[in-house]
Amino acid sequence: QQPVQSPQAVILREGEDAVINCSSSKALYSVHWYRQKHGEAPVFLMILLKGGEQKGHDKISASFNEKKQQSSLYLTASQLSYSGTYFCGTEIADSWGKLQFGAGTQVVVTP
């Protein structure tokens, strides 16, 4: 079953922060975050494995709450280059090697 992302869209001014959530109804083994610019292929941001770890990439970080079966992506001090659609991909315990992607969260960062 497809994970649920929220919000569907967010508009930010440069320097503002945002949080994108990804929730699953099934137990998760890992969560993957991708960003896609309009007309381009999705680009990998980070992987989080079960265990509740948190990762960071520049000013973009993510957490994984295994008990709640959800992950959050944090955009800190947003830059214009952060604009795009963010997808979470979830790997469930009985479906190794396959990802189910959420519908995406469109992020627009304005000057």
């Binding site: 993957h32 990998f44 991909g89 790997e91 190794w96 189910q100």
Partner: protein, 114 residues
């Protein structure tokens, strides 16, 4: 390295026509995937392969067939195209389990079925 490449970039088909989409990767990856992306739906897995000569069904396999005769190539076929197959198709490849490594995506193929 070219990474993951897809051919063609864009195609228009009439209902009932057939076509094959080609995906090639030069990273020696074992795993390869075909996704379709529709507005508001995210990426949905069509078929995937865990190695040369193997294929398996994903979430939305109906109307598609695949073949992995060579490790570096993964073909997606539409035997009788339908308007519902209008979409953007992405190929991806990865090494081992998705949990250990990311998936690298190709640039996509835009398909319009009239």
């Amino acid at each position: 390295n070219a990474g993951v490449t897809q051919t063609p970039k864009f195609r228009v088909l009439k209902t009932g026509q057939s076509m094959t989409l080609l995906c090639a990767q030069d990273m020696n990856h074992e795993y390869m995937y075909w996704y379709r992306q529709d507005p508001g739906m995210g990426l949905r897995l069509i078929h995937y392969s865990v190695g040369e000569g193997t294929t398996a069904k994903g979430e939305v396999p109906d109307g598609y067939n695949v073949s992995r005769l060579k490790k570096q190539n993964f073909l997606l076929g539409l035997e009788s195209a339908a308007p519902s197959q209008t979409s953007v198709y992405f190929c991806a490849s990865g090494v081992g389990l998705a949990a250990q490594e990311t998936q690298y995506f190709g640039p996509g193929t835009r398909l319009l079925v009239l």
